[in-house]
Amino acid sequence: MERVIVIGGGVAGMKAALDLRRRGFEVTLLEKSRHLGGKVRKWHCLFPTFTSAAEVLGGLKAEVADSDIEVRLEAEVVSFDNRSVTLASGEKLACGAVVLATGFTLFDARVKEEYGYGIYDNVITSADLEEMFRNGRVALRNGERPRRVAFLHCVGSRDEKVCQRHCSKVCCVTGVKQAIEVKKLFPEADVFNFYMDIRMFGPGYEEMYREAQLSHNIHFVRGRISEASPTIDGRLQIKAEDTLTGRPLKMSVDMLVLLVGMRSNDDNVHLAEQAGVPLAPNGFFAPKDMFAGNVCSPRKGVFYAGAITAPKSIGEVLNEGSAVADAVTEYLS
């Protein structure tokens, strides 16, 4: 049977590889880093049901392990086209079709200098907070319990200043999830979410938002934090406007969590040129069309799965994983 190469060992790549294998194709799964799982490896639990990320990932990894998919770790792809993939080591692998599942890059909060990420102690990103949850220990840099936590939505998304015009759609619901988790860990703490718009797009998300307000008394302030600066007692003073009252607002918080968005990978440009496929204005790969061909690229034999084409939730990514298997089967038959 034909050989299919899946680039990217995240949840999208693994799901695509599994489904392709199930259809009898000979599958090679290339992963740049040393282990499979991609970003989901770093998450603690997933919205909206707080299922543990390890559980979702464990299942996939187990399936991949006991299937005979050829997995090659630390295999970085330099270029590819519809019939072959060239690795950094110079090796060229021939194949019938290529599935690109290299996902996204987290926006580097350092670029938003005014929030002081990397400069002040307790300014962290949602990924760092998720890391803390995973290690089971959430605390300030000096080890104390936070009494007041602020979440800032839309860091590196919907922001002309950092040329990220698109909405990464999952950081809002992540912000609400993490706010609830913080409130559960520190019931006596005050949690403030600063937002421009709250976008609860998926099933059960709006209910989670409402539960956050009603049973966890989380304050949602409509206004974008302009800057953060250190106070004399080591906390952070943040300034925003409470646009619903039209008044500027200032407060000091113990911890500022920046909900960073999803950015396209830096090597997208290079890879796209090599493969002769177009990129969308926001730097993600542009699928053939948004409806029938959302997992295929305009070029025959090159397919996409997961967040490579746009920010997506894990549910959607898994759907695309199996959708791409159909597309490839139809193409190769």
Partner: protein
């Protein structure tokens, strides 16, 4: 020194300083009516408001300010409300808006 007539005064900042605001009253209000916290600020109440139709009274803004600890003038503003009940019919979050008016007036009568 004779009192100097400066001809101007240092303008008071309009900022809501959450650190220095005494949030005890707003916590009491939220404890007694937690559903107020689920307000998403859509403004349907203010839009349909009978008193708001005749004055600058803005129910949504007043209770949001109270929740931030800005109690100044909240009682006088809420006194403009005629308690006609239109807002309660419209609130997408099902908040007992008339109850909020009465609660804020009871809690903030002395500010």
């Amino acid at each position: 020194m004779a009192a100097i007539n400066w001809g101007f005064a240092i303008s008071r900042p309009r900022v809501i300083d959450v650190d220095h605001n005494n949030l005890r009253k707003s916590d009491e209000i939220l404890l007694e009516m937690p559903e107020l916290q689920s307000c998403i600020g859509c403004g349907a109440c203010t839009a349909s408001c009978t008193a708001g139709n005749l004055t600058q009274f803005n129910f949504r803004k007043v209770h949001t300010l109270v929740r931030r600890g800005e109690y100044q003038g909240a009682y006088e503003e809420m006194n403009k409300c005629m308690l006609c009940g239109k807002c309660r019919l419209l609130c997408p979050r099902g908040i007992n808006t008339r109850g909020v008016v009465m609660l804020i007036k009871r809690k903030l009568g002395d500010f």
